[in-house]
């Protein structure tokens, strides 16, 4: 019976693990819903700020903000890479790192140097080991409910570098929340600001600006970039939770099938020992 006993302890330990993964799955599901709500709450701000910027840019076409002006030569590129703080979320982080590295390699092949700003400790753990990449700023431990002021620092480092001319382009690497099952990693360009495809309507009126148009546009553009990064970070939380939910669900399912297999093995072992005992008794009786 020793074999059967061993199997029994194994089953109970797997059952405990299954309980944990199930709990994590449910926690992730509820957190995901909250993160999705937060993600949607960022939309009105982004839309409004874009409208004002478009209007300003159209009304003051003679003033070209450096953020809107594409530089012909790129010597150094900046990346803001958004990752999670915790693991157990499937291939989420690895996929983001892969798409970042692909873009980085393309730049490096052209002799362009790279600056990184990393959000999330998983990203830091990954990129600090790689040589030839310059990590200039980092933020981690943001939690699930992220506030804007935690994003300002790492973004400003990059914006300043762009204004000074030490980087000529700025990219954002993040996960897009397609649906619960799918998170698509992608690289987008933050600076120079991509030209709006939308035809800007010709306005016959203009605002009064206080203090002046230039300053208003400056602070709007900074906030605009920040709001994009903020949305990326919030979206990444939704992605993290979705990925964790799926990972934990498959872990629970795997534990279930493992338990089934072990249960079968246990039953067989028990049956074998009973049969053996019986045949021993019968054999003993026959000998007498």
């Amino acid at each position: 019976m020793s074999g059967a006993k061993q199997i029994r302890t194994q089953i109970s330990s797997i059952k405990n693990t299954q309980k944990i993964t199930k709990a994590m799955e449910m926690v992730a599901a509820s957190k995901m819903r909250k993160a999705q709500d937060r993600m949607n709450a960022t939309r009105p701000y982004a839309i409004k700020i874009k409208q004002v910027i478009n209007h300003l840019a159209a009304a003051h076409s003679e003033y070209k903000h450096p953020y809107m002006h594409a530089r012909s030569e790129v010597k150094r590129a900046g990346f803001i890479i958004i990752s999670t703080d915790r693991g157990l979320c499937g291939g989420l982080n690895v996929n983001v790192f892969k798409s970042a590295l692909r873009q980085i390699k393309e730049y490096q092949d052209q002799g362009v140097e790279i600056d990184l700003s990393i959000i999330g400790s998983k990203g830091m753990a990954f990129f600090r080991r790689l040589s030839g990449l310059n990590v200039v700023s980092h933020a981690s431990g943001l939690g699930d409910n992220i506030h804007m002021n935690e994003i300002i620092g790492p973004v400003k480092v990059m914006l300043d570098a762009y204004s000074e001319g030490s980087i000529d382009r700025l990219h954002l690497v993040e996960n897009e929340f397609v649906n619960t099952m799918t998170q698509a990693p992608g690289v987008s360009t933050l600076l120079p600001l991509p030209k709006d495809e939308e035809e800007v309507r010709q306005h016959h009126w203009d605002y009064i600006y206080e203090p002046d148009a230039k300053e208003v546009l400056d602070s709007l553009l900074v906030r605009y970039v920040e709001s994009i990064v903020y949305r990326g970070v919030v979206e990444n939380v939704a992605c993290e939770m979705a990925a964790r939910m799926i990972a934990m669900k498959s872990a629970s399912d795997n534990a279930g099938s493992l338990i089934d297999d072990l249960q079968l093995a246990y039953n067989k072992a028990r049956q074998a020992s009973i049969t053996q005992e019986l045949s021993e008794i019968v054999g003993g009786a026959a000998a007498v």
């Binding site: 409004k48 804007m148 300002i152 620092g153 605002y207 602070s219 906030r223």
Partner: protein, 136 residues
């Protein structure tokens, strides 16, 4: 007129109002319907909203932008305390955080952050005081 107060994190207020008073950077402004188009920066302070048949509402903003069109007023509120040297400090912090992890170095305590937090706390206190006076 329609008033929308939004921040990067959430929508704070949306509705029809009679008038709104805001702490603009060059001085407080009162906006009534048919105001001429205006874009201005806001400093930390309170927004007063007058709604037809309701008590005045006060909303605290820690700076941001005010956009006025004849029938629509939008406040793009900052959620964080903003000041040039404070932003600088946050950037520095993020930089140091990275360096720390790369080299394991100590960070410094910054006074500008404390100062800006103090200014905000004072503004919030003033508003609470106002509320109390009105109620009691």
């Amino acid at each position: 007129m329609q008033l929308d107060i939004v921040s990067a994190e959430t929508e704070i207020f949306s509705g029809t109002v009679n008038a709104v008073f805001a702490p603009a950077i060059v001085g407080d402004v009162g906006i009534y319907p048919q105001h001429t188009p205006l874009v201005t920066r806001l400093k930390p302070g309170e927004l007063k909203i007058e709604v037809e048949g309701e008590e005045d509402r006060y909303i605290y903003v820690s700076g941001g932008m005010l956009e006025v069109q004849p029938d629509v007023v939008t406040v793009l509120s900052d959620t964080a305390i903003r000041a040039e040297d404070l932003d600088e400090n946050m950037a520095l912090e993020a930089k140091q955080h990275a360096e720390e992890l790369l080299k394991d170095k100590q960070t410094e305590v910054d006074s500008a952050r404390a100062l800006a937090e103090l200014a905000e706390a004072a503004a919030q206190l003033r508003m609470i005081e106002k509320f109390r006076k009105g109620k009691v």
